[in-house]
Amino acid sequence: MERKTGGIWEALQAREVSRRDFLKFCTLMGATLALPSEGVGQIAAALENSERLPVIWLHMQECTGDDESVLRVNNPTVGELVMDIISLEYQEVLMASAGHQAEAMLEEAKQRYAGRYLLVVEGSIPTGEGAHYCTIGGRTGEDILRETAKDCAAIVALGACASWGGWPASRPDPTNAKGVYQIIHDKPVINLTGCPHNGVNAVATIVYYLTFGELPPVDARGRPLFAHGKRIHDNCERRAHFDAGQYVEKWGDEGHRQGWCLYKMGCKGPQAYYNCPVIRWNDGLSWPVKGGHGCIACAAFDFWDSMTPFYGRLPEVPVFPVETTVDKIGLGLTAAALVGVALHAAGTFAWNRSKPAKTEPPPAEPDYDGGQTMVAMADTSEPEPPHDDQSDQSEEEGDGHGG
């Protein structure tokens, strides 16, 4: 079983991918990665000369939505291409083998590609006393992760759950679910957040890795800057309506049909950093705000707690540009929402729960007030579910200074 040396370009030729399609793919990746134009040439050169990258893909507490997202990458011929750029050595959803033969493939891949394989993890990992909440072949997911991480080159945490715990880790975190970076500290980990992550970003990350030999630059949360450097609100196709004070007031009203701003329907775009509006989904066809629903900030850490209730209105969204006056904004904007109109730097990250942050602390930022203007959870006299320590924590969420 000799490794081939022909490189990816040769493999692509065998699949009848034209040079033109190949360069188109490189250009698209370059654009997604926000590289300068010479970067496209570098990508092309790297892909032409690379062997297929060995990848071990582990499933933990997951829903397989992140696999499915990768299967949806849609650029003509490129979805298949992914199978030629990487070599899936172990992937439970797709692999032909099962049972102990599957486990043997995992062992063999770890040895054969020691120090060279990319580890992709999908799903959160129940840890410590909760480790028995996920077992595979009789072993805990935590054990398997630790052992498989030992000899990998780098780790891609795919989706919200692998990145920071996702919904299993949200209040009250029944299984002590963790993200990869909270368990593995001696390997580079990149967090492709999103629920699910967008498959285009995963492909772009892998292309970057093949091209430059390292993971792309990340923000304080370990998320790739190319995907999380810009605020959804600032790239939103409905932004002009926000600035003009034109808001959807009811599902299906005239404003909704005309594509007005969804802020009053609970859109979290002003607090969300993701390239969703730019790359969109399913071959660029749509994304949630285009579809007519507010953003739920699914690429933010902790969004299941910090961004809910989803239909509650974000308070204190600054009106931009700064010279806009209330009159210009028009009657659509309620006085309440104008409280605190103040321009502040970007970096609106709501960090509400005490979680070990691997890198620097989160940006001290505003001020997502976890509930005051959020009608449904407000003024309830009912206590939180019976978890005292947790409810204390949730009280703190209100001021947005957790972290």
Binding site: R52, N74, H132, W167, Q258, H293, W304, T308
Partner: protein, 571 residues
């Protein structure tokens, strides 16, 4: 790995989630079997105290393969609790979203998850492309030809020769249970690749109607949030209708010219599997695809009903209060003792792991051995899924289903009893895909008609504001998910979720024993299955995959002290 005659298959691959099968082998066949779900997350406790309008966004994330299904069941449950009836356009858009999911999911299951149980990739590499082209042309006019099949063969050969065969490597190639001639293997392998392309393109219907896939984002309690307006670029308009119509026709084309011919061709070599893999013989369908807002069973395209003991002469009604769950062999305790079953409204989930400490070789199957509960209808183990739906429709006299089932049986030269089997499940899934796909364009036309007559309503707005809600409410939402009957039960108090329960298709099918020791459908279906080589039990994969397992859904919840309060299961 064997304890004399006990074999373990873990991980079961090409499914959603973490499933383990232990089976007792004697005389070359399975004499006893246990199915275990080995992963648990805890959705229901996480939902408690939250806004019921948010629930669908949470529950949808139970599963990313059958994405949409827990979303649909959830909004229906809240609407049932509050007495909300959605406008016609919302019903139509939901039907289209559900049908798209069913078609996509079934095609992906057949080709990506199930096909390699029947199709030997190793053998495909030895096929004669010219003979393959002849074979393909004899069953369908789908694209083919010598060059096409030679190209596929060369691509795969190159892939294998690369020394990095990756996910296509398998110790099962060459197993004596593979029966297809090399040419049929090559044809199916080519269509595996075609199916990957089809699914990527077809699911863009969800991008149009759901804003994205996986995990759509256009539902809302009370309807949908896709604006509809023929005169707006920012709404579903004439262009959208044209797109939907085109995709509906492409899907029908792929199913008629690829999926159905492949199913028949492959099945004709595996007819013995029409006598293997029978489940408990009890089938349940909640029914789905309403044609009006009445909520009545008569309005459903896929009929509601139950069949007992394989008796296609009688279709029994479905009553929600007859559904209960046992934990006698599941890692939970009931406060009233494990001998009783509980209805979802009264459900408890007190998880209590009593299995062997990992790493372990075998589960203690005499005691508790899984994270799945055991749902029962009037104490009977019951199978759900495409086979259950097609049987209920067939026995209910649904004319088109009778016609399709009849033609498949005739083509294969088998009688209706062949349906109660591994092969029957796989065939029923294909028949259902075609049946549903044939109705998609009708819903598109209806939506277009409403646009023309100016009915642009998409949402019942009156009860959107929780201030209008009663202090307490409870309800349930049913949906026929691709994998079978799905139900969500919700109790609302003071505008918050007080309790939330889901009883999920794979929980029905992959359930363990109950208090009376009755096996779940997977377990029962495995008993009697021949095993040619205990080291390579491909026959287990065939029967288990015929149910299309989705284990992520089979997960229950615990509170912060490690006590489960309620349960959510995986599809």
């Amino acid at each position: 790995m064997a304890m004399a005659d006990r074999i373990v298959l873990d991980p079961v691959t090409r499914i959603e989630g973490h499933l383990r099968i232990e089976a007792q082998i004697d005389g070359g066949q399975i004499t006893d079997a246990w199915a275990s779900g080995t992963m648990f997350r805890g959705m229901e406790i996480i939902l408690k105290g939250r806004d019921p309008r948010d629930a669908w966004l949470f529950t949808q994330r139970i599963c990313g393969v059958c994405t949409t299904v827990h979303a649909i069941a959830s909004v229906r449950a809240v609407e049932d609790a509050l007495g909300i009836q959605v406008p016609p356009n919302a019903r139509l858009i939901r039907n289209l979203i559900m049908a798209t999911q069913a078609i996509h999911d079934h095609v992906v299951h057949f080709y990506v998850l199930h096909a390699l149980d029947w199709v030997d990739v190793g053998s495909a590499l030895t096929a004669d492309p010219a003979k393959t082209a002849d074979l393909a042309a004899s069953i369908s006019d789908w694209k083919g030809g010598v060059e096409y099949f030679r190209g596929v063969q060369q691509k795969v050969q190159k892939f294998v020769d690369s020394g990095q065969p990756g996910f296509l490597a398998s110790a099962y190639w060459g197993h004596p249970a593979y029966k297809l001639p090399p040419e049929a293997n090559l044809m199916a392998l080519a269509h595996y690749l075609d199916a990957l392309n089809f699914q990527r393109d077809f699911i863009r219907v969800h991008a149009l109607l759901g804003a994205k896939n996986p995990h759509i984002q256009t539902l809302a309690v009370g309807g949908v949030v896709n604006p509809v307006d023929p005169n707006s670029e920012n709404a579903l308009n004439a262009q959208s209708i044209a797109f939907l119509r085109a995709k509906a026709r492409e899907a029908l084309d792929f199913i008629n010219r690829v999926y159905i011919p492949d199913l028949l061709a492959i099945a004709s070599f595996y007819k013995e599997w029409a006598g293997i893999g029978a489940g408990p013989g009890n089938y349940l369908s909640y029914g789905d695809y309403p044609s009006d807002g009445s909520g009545s069973p008569e309005s459903l395209l896929l009929p509601r009903g139950r069949i007992l003991g394989n008796d296609l002469g009688t279709v029994l009604p479905v009553e929600q209060d007859k559904i209960k769950e046992y934990v006698s062999h599941s890692w939970y305790d009931y406060s009233g003792g494990d001998g009783e079953a509980l209805h979802p409204f009264q459900g408890e989930t007190n998880p209590h792991f009593t299995g062997p400490q990992p790493p372990y070789d075998f589960l203690n199957v005499e005691e508790k051995y899984t994270w799945l509960k055991a749902p029962r209808y009037e104490d009977l183990p019951t199978e759900v899924g495409p086979l259950a739906r097609m049987l209920v429709a067939y026995a209910s006299g649904q004319p088109r289903v009778q016609e399709l089932v009849g033609s498949v049986l005739e083509n294969l030269g088998v009688g209706p009893e062949a349906l109660f089997s591994t092969l029957g499940r796989t065939a029923a899934r294909a028949i259902e895909t075609l049946f549903i796909a044939e109705h998609v364009e009708g819903w598109v036309d209806e939506l277009a008609g409403n646009m023309t007559t100016g009915d642009l309503r998409i949402h019942a707005g009156e009860l959107w504001d929780p201030a209008q809600w009663p202090a307490t409410a409870e309800g349930y939402g049913w949906h026929e998910a691709p994998r079978g009957a799905l139900g969500h039960w919700i109790r609302i108090r003071d505008r918050q979720i007080e309790n939330y329960q889901a009883v999920v298709p794979t929980t029905w099918n992959a359930s363990p024993r109950d208090a009376a020791g009755q096996m779940g459908p997977y377990e029962q279906a495995l008993v009697g299955t021949p095993i040619a080589d205990p080291e390579r039990p491909i026959e287990i994969l065939r029967t288990v995959h015929s149910f299309d397992p989705c284990i992520a859904c089979a997960v229950h919840l615990v509170d912060a002290r490690g006590r489960a309060v309620s349960t959510v299961k995986a599809l």
